[in-house]
């Protein structure tokens, strides 16, 4: 009886504390939400994939959206914002092309947008781990 009580007290309670922290941290820094939950392997793979996709997009002279004038541009901007600090720092450093000049730049633009969308999926996964919805 006493052993069971000690065991249940030692196990982390899924709903304890601020449950949205892994979601927010994971959105700001790719993989950090999983690192926060001590899922080192998953976090490292997610970080490498998302960061790799984002950097390759920039290397392909992909465009970083800063404003939106039509619905498709708005969706692309929303995707870019999914990268969190990667997007903010890249914008601050003036990285990314202002307009698409070559074919590879078009692919690079998609890489950057999809990296942001994948980061949102990873952040939501970290939140699900935190709430206990996923093991």
């Amino acid at each position: 009886m006493a052993t069971e009580q000690i065991k249940s007290a030692a196990q982390p309670k899924p709903q304890q504390g601020f449950v949205y922290l892994p979601l927010i941290v994971g959105w700001l820094v790719p993989g950090a939400g999983h690192f926060l939950l001590r899922k080192w392997g998953r976090g490292a793979l997610l970080a490498a994939s998302i960061l790799g996709m984002f950097v390759l997009g920039l290397a392909m002279q992909g465009k970083l959206y800063s404003s939106a004038h039509e619905i498709l541009e708005f969706l692309a901007l929303a995707g870019d914002l999914g990268s969190g600090l990667l997007y903010i720092v890249s914008r601050a450093l003036g990285l990314g092309a202002d307009s698409v000049q070559v074919t590879t730049a078009d692919w690079g633009t998609r890489f950057i947008v999809v990296a942001g969308l994948l980061n949102v999926i990873a952040a939501v996964d970290a939140h699900n781990l935190r709430t206990g919805r996923k093991a």
Partner: protein, 60 residues
């Protein structure tokens, strides 16, 4: 740094990164994550090849 990969290389890179994230986030155990990631990679690359051939024949 400027990178100009071929279209197929870009497809492979895209499929690799997206499959890793899909595998980890959509399944619970490492074994199932690996299998689902492999499945996603095959579907990404396979569908790109099939659609490319379809467009090739449509254009003729």
């Amino acid at each position: 740094m400027s990178l100009h990969p071929s279209h197929f290389t870009a497809v492979l890179l895209f499929a690799l990164f997206a499959s890793v994230v899909f595998g980890i986030t959509q399944r619970e155990t490492p074994h199932r994550m690996f299998r689902y990631g492999l499945y996603c990679f095959a579907m990404f690359v396979g569908s790109a090849i099939v659609l490319s051939w379809l467009m090739y024949f449509i254009a003729r």
